[in-house]
Amino acid sequence: MSEVSALERPEEKRDEVESAVVRFAGDSGDGMQLTGTQFTLTAALAGNDLATFPDFPAEIRAPAGTTFGVSAFQINFGARRIMTSGDSLDVLVVMNPAALITNLSDVKPGGIVIADSGAFTSRNLTKAGYESNPLETGEGLEKYRLIQIDMSRLTVESVKEFGLSNKEALRSKNMWALGLVYWMYGRPRKASVDWLNAKFSKQPEIAAANIAALNAGHAFGETAEMPAEIGGYSIPAAEIEPGLYRTVTGTESVALGLLAGTQLANVGLTFCSYPITPASALLHQLAAMKEFGVVTFQAEDEIAAVCAALGASYGGSLGITSSSGPGIALKMEAIGLAIATELPLVIVNSQRAGPSTGMPTKTEQSDLYQAVFGRNADAPMPVISVSSSTDGFDVAIEAVRLATKFMTPVMLLTDGYLANASEPWRIPDISEYDSFKTNFTTDPKNFEPFSRHPETLSRPWVKPGTPELAHRIGGIERSDGSGHISYSPENHQKMTDLRAQKIDNIANYIPEQEIEQGEANDDLVVVGWGSTFGPISRAVSNLRIEGLGVAQIHLRYIWPLPKNLEELLSNFGKILVPEMNNGQLVTLLRSQFLLPAKGFNKVNGKPFLIKELEEAIRSELDK
């Protein structure tokens, strides 16, 4: 086991900054995601608030050195509340020319670019599309502070004693880079050393080599081998609500929330899914929770996944399925059956850029129409959305509550950005949540499968196997009450109305919409939903500091909409709806409320930048 060097640069020599945005970019095989995750953990342990943005290619092993094989991990960390992963970069670390050419434009003017000059070979330069070596010519790098270091060579030297091949030795160069950036921000290496020792406990020489590289990168900064104008920085801890924290991705929070929800509902959890990017990680998470009795089923296809989930709900457990846009499209017929038979079901949709295969690893929020409207016939169901990586926990609990209380499928919308992005999470205490215990019907007296609760309009949930309650349900229209097959015109009208009423009525069982920031009669309100919460919040707060009358409303409930929303919105002078789609919520709001809401839309596979939103709001206000 290697020791951490005790030498740290004295804090007083460091420039204190409020926040910083760092991006590690390299080849898919360079371990950039691990590097970023380690940096995130260390920033969290140092008490910073933070947000991350992992951005990786769809190809598992894209050809080395190509621009489409570049994998990047960005983190914004600071001494203040961090709302986004950052508009532009203070520091860009690039492990090869392809990473430089694809990421350089995101660096702030005057920002630092650290490049592994050892990887700028003529072969790699050609693959990236460079005709000459920009590190030598300085071409295109004029605006930035360039630090070129032969990290490849230094890494190989630092791990010499472990007798690794050159190829194996080079695998540690991400840790060398991490060590250097740790030095830049005065960060301890202990957490990463512990992690390396644990990860490679069965290959101690690999652990030792990685730790040696980490230490060597750190020592490189420490021993003043860095250019004089680039000293160290320090970022104090943020003011954060006291408590016990961990980092969590949107996938993890949704997984934990689904389990928490089923525990609060006192029902079993049967999770049925089919692998698809970026939703698969939810299956992985839940498959590892078997000690809670969680049943996971990797089905043969998307349709089988939703059908098995629905079968499980029919069987008396809560069936949950998960996918991304194209997979959700395949599930829709079965979701219609869930609506018709009024069985609970939760569908998690990790939205991605589309249509069709689109850009599977890139984010978008373009499935709102599909969620609210995308079924044959009049088939309403509740739709709720996750607005941050931590929010997934409460939203998933809410999905379970609505599904079981109202005997309906519920669609939970998250997206590719939230699925992978992490942020610190104050760990909740599950005992502080209200339980919503499910009441299975067991009394045969006057039992009818389609009788209705007088207030919620939901029908009884009966577990097959319950004595004397044997009955039949199905997709053919059924009589209200008895559930017998019925083609009666009056009955179909009645059942269609009831199905719609039941969902509309949910508006009485969800919180009223609150204003996130601003006053109820501000000049303009920005209405968002989903993962745009972070950048919208920061943009609105920045403009409010400037004195603009801008308010923010962020929706969790997409369908039904909160019952006070129309009134709230009608008090604002203007309504701006930024979305990572071509204008879906804005259409919904306009059609529901006949209000002149305007869209601000972007679909480039990346989250909104704060400055883009600020510009859009200003231009709407002519300021």
Binding site: L45, L310, G311, A334, S431, P464, G465, G474
Partner: protein
Amino acid sequence: MNIQKSPDKLTARDYATDQEVRWCPGCGDYAILKAVQRTLAELQADPDQTVFVSGIGCAARFPYYMETYGFHTIHGRSPAIATGVKLANPDLNVWVVGGDGDMLSIGGNHTMHALRRNVDLNILLFNNEIYGLTKGQYSPTSQTGTRSPSTPYGSVDLPVSAAQFALGAGGKFIARSADILQKHLPVVLKRAYENHGTSFVEIMQNCIVYNDAVFSHFTEKSVAADMQVHVEHGKPLIFGSDLDKGLRLKKDALELEIVTIGKNGVSETDILNHDEKNRPLAMLLASMIPPEFPIALGVLYSDPSPTYDKAVHDQVESVKTKNGPGNFNKLLRRGHTWEV
């Protein structure tokens, strides 16, 4: 809405609902319904622990007529939905009913995966070689040349053999019977019920409206004895009105041939004995097509093995035992945490 059950012993009628049965007069489905109800009565199956799941098609109306739990679902998906039912509650007796279009065309994929997983389901495939409910189009089991509204000049594609498909998918219990075989069918259904795992039963069923008499070349009384071989484990594969025909392996070839006992020196000892655990033999029997060969009816293959639903729950239990029952607050604190 429940029909009063007789206090001591359930009869076939106790498994019938009060709903009017709406198949065409003369449909083979009536006979199958009766056979299933008789079989359940014979087994004294608990109606409250029994679930019928179906997809879409004429056959898929089946659950509405069974006084048990029932779920009439969507086209082709019944094996997937039934798999979910078993995942939620492995103690239920789950029957899956569908036609050749439902289970071999739109739902072929789910049928295949239920079979290879060996989910504890009794799958009854009513094969009438036609689409009935949509008014007579040819189906994936229709013989080449079938004339139908969608193939007015005759179909040109080759049919799938249900039993061969099921064997190929790794099914552990494959049986075959016919709607009109009211003595044979309940015996097969009973075997299917008793088998743990996917019990796949192909039931040749006559569609009186769109494909009448499609199986008459082996079901008609005059030809039945010569065109059907009823297989029984351990017994010789003998058939024919005089019980003088038998099946044996061709010399130097992996093929069956029909021989006559008492001719060319053939005696009963030369006839193959049925071995229901022998998969290659099951494949040979499943591939026999009349009139060149008799159709093989009965349990073609039965080699019980662990069921998927039990394995899933056993794994959950073993993880619980190994890790201890889950503690949610502990799960939330798994991994790196820090105090602010």
